[in-house]
């Protein structure tokens, strides 16, 4: 863990932080758009932060890590944060990240399935029955008026090659994955058709920044600075995804796994862009965006309802217990135009 630095109590004092990536691999997602960019462009340095990463095996593990102090901050599934809070795991959300519903149902081009109702009697591939994709598929089916327990069959197919093969071989009729996973599949040469998500999914939050509740008060300032640097990086990445991706290669050479950056940059940028789309407002241009990280009470309510339906929580979680919005005001105080300018003219060395 990297939270041993007590100097964090003092305003603006140098501090060390550990960012727990809620995934076992490094990819064109938050660790690139947030961490790599903030680190490489000196946003962390400006905040006198030294940030390191650890990889954890998913949101639950990431939350366990921050709760136990092995990590300080993570970007974890909001449903998992709610679940953790309900089980008295001392974590708290301090800012939003992915704001647009990332899950979507995909079918093969030319499939007879054009909407939720057509899924009756079909097989849907989910990542695993114990992942966000299963409750999503059920909710999607339920929304179309079907009984998720009887009318469809969910099959765990994982992500990537395995999921693509399952769809191509006809072992499943549809997939329920997140957008960025589809980009990876499409990059590998499979074309897909996507079903529209009904409106109910609008405003259900996916990844949010979370920290350990016990250290929150003591490290309020440090976390604020972290959020500020992160949102700056997000803005930069949204403006210039390719530059962000190249920075990602630099900070995490393992993304390339031995391949050449120039050969990969196009497809990886696509994936990163897909991720960024879910994490930024659907309207407007980066220059116009503000209020980074805000989560409205209505969004919380929708998220709670959805999480409850998915079985991750059994009752309502008191909002004050899970959500500390007080850091966002200071976190948004940065020169947005400067970041946008830098991004627009940035070419990686």
């Amino acid at each position: 863990g990297g939270s041993g630095d007590d100097a964090g109590a003092e305003q603006g004092a140098p501090a060390k932080l550990t960012f727990a990536i809620a995934s076992a691999v490094i990819g064109p997602k938050e660790e690139v758009a947030v961490f790599a960019v903030a680190k490489e462009l000196g946003y962390f340095e400006e905040e006198k932060l030294t940030v390191e990463t650890i990889n954890t095996d998913g949101s639950v593990a990431a939350l366990q890590a921050v709760a136990s102090g092995s990590g300080d901050v993570t970007a974890a599934d909001t449903g998992s944060i709610l679940g953790a809070t309900e089980k008295n795991v001392p974590v708290k959300a301090i800012g939003g990240l992915v704001q647009n519903w990332p899950w979507v149902i995909a079918v093969k081009p030319g499939s007879t399935i054009a909407g939720g109702g057509d899924l009756k009697g079909k097989k849907i591939g989910v990542i695993s029955l114990a992942s966000g994709s299963a409750p999503y598929a059920r909710a999607f089916v339920a929304e179309a008026g079907l009984d998720p327990a009887k009318d469809v069959e969910l099959l765990p197919v994982g992500v990537g090659a395995q999921a693509a093969a399952a769809l191509n071989d006809g072992k499943v009729d549809a997939l329920a994955l997140y957008t960025q996973a589809y980009t990876v599949i499409e990059n590998a040469g499979t074309t897909l058709t996507y079903l529209d998500n009904p409106d109910v999914f609008d405003g259900i939050r996916s990844l949010s920044f979370a920290v350990g509740a016990r250290t929150l008060e003591e490290k309020r300032d440090v976390y604020t600075r972290f959020l500020r640097a992160s949102y700056k990086a997000m803005l930069f990445s949204a403006k210039n995804p390719e530059a962000a991706m190249r920075i990602g290669y630099k900070v995490f050479p393992q993304i390339l796994a031995g391949k050449q950056a120039d050969a990969q940059i196009a497809t990886d940028t696509k994936v990163l862009t897909a991720w960024l789309k879910t994490a930024t407002p659907t309207t407007g241009t980066p220059e116009q965006w503000g209020d980074w990280g805000a989560i409205s009470d209505q969004e919380w309510a929708k998220t709670q309802a959805y999480t409850k339906q998915a079985g991750q929580i059994t009752g309502d979680v008191e909002l004050g217990k899970v959500w500390e919005p007080g850091l966002l005001g200071a976190a948004n105080q940065f020169d947005k135009a400067a970041v946008v300018d830098k991004a627009a003219g940035y070419t990686a060395k």
């Binding site: 366990q64 998992s80 089980k87 795991v89 695993s128 099959l155």
Partner: protein, 281 residues
């Protein structure tokens, strides 16, 4: 007490007391030691976690695990998960161990086969099955088969190594003796090699059954709708760490039962080893 009575190292024999097999706590102290250790460990765990205020999500307390266990055992679905995993593990074990015995026999009989095949087997073994599991699912589907294959593959290797080593351990003099009386390979195998290999084989079975359970669980991790591995994922996903530990407890009990069955078989089938074993030395 065994027949070949040896007064061991520093131990005093008690020749006056006739040897009887009884459920005597003095002669078989494990009868109270095992529960005693259990109680001590559980208490230490319970109050240790309380004392150092360890959170449930880091390490739940026995009482919490026990609660969760009670909850799960009351659930009919739980028993079907248990049944699914047991079946996968058992089938995988039988297939893996069976294949290991067949291949091990073949390999140990024909030197060339060993030299030719062994490198490939070892190479295949070092491939992490967990990494291959997604491919297993692609190849063998989402149902029982892929988990059985996983369990079989993972219990295969320890058994194979032990079978080969065991079949080789046969005493040259005994083989000579059989050879003189006209025994062929098959008879030598049955009359000498196999009995000699039994301790090795039972060691392999003991390791194999434990790994078969692990294999089935890991197979379920990758893609399953049911089974204890699925339940582990589910409880973990729901942050029900006590529930997860309850499943782990059930898996442990499964392993224990399998272990004792195998040891019982061993005592029945390889009795002479017991008989000639030295007491206390």
């Amino acid at each position: 007490m065994a027949t070949t009575e040896v007064v061991g190292g520093a131990r005093t024999p008690a020749p006056e007391k006739p040897t009887r097999r009884r459920l005597d706590l003095r002669e078989r102290p494990q009868l109270w030691l095992v529960p005693a250790v259990f109680v001590v460990v559980v208490l230490a765990w319970e109050y240790g976690t309380e004392l150092f205020s360890v959170d449930e999500y880091v390490l739940p307390r026995p009482s919490q695990i026990f609660d969760a266990l009670g909850r799960q055992l009351g659930d009919g679905l739980f028993w079907s998960h248990l049944w699914v995993t047991s079946r996968e593990a058992l089938l995988g074990f039988l297939i893996g161990v069976g294949a290991a015995v067949l291949l091990g026999t073949f390999i140990s009989q024909v030197k060339v086969v060993e030299a030719t095949l062994m490198p490939y087997i070892v190479a295949f073994q070092t491939v992490p099955k967990v990494a291959l599991a997604p491919l297993f699912v692609l190849w063998f589907g989402f149902g029982l088969t892929s988990k059985v294959v996983m369990a079989a593959v993972i219990s295969f290797f320890p058994m194979l190594v032990n079978v080969i080593e065991g079949l080789r351990a046969a005493d040259a003099d005994r083989i000579q003796m059989l050879t003189v009386f006209g025994a062929g390979r098959a008879q030598i195998f049955r009359m000498v090699r196999l009995p000699t290999a039994l301790p090795f084989i039972f060691a392999g079975l003991d390791i194999g059954i434990v790994f078969a359970i692990l294999g089935a669980v890991v197979g379920e991790f990758i893609g399953a709708k049911e089974g204890l591995g699925y339940l582990l994922l589910q409880t973990n996903y729901n942050f029900d760490i006590s529930g997860m530990f309850a499943v782990l407890v059930v898996l442990s009990v499964m392993g224990l039962v399998a272990h004792f069955v195998i040891r019982l078989l061993q005592r029945r089938l390889a009795f002479w080893a017991e008989d000639t074993r030295v007491i206390g030395a």
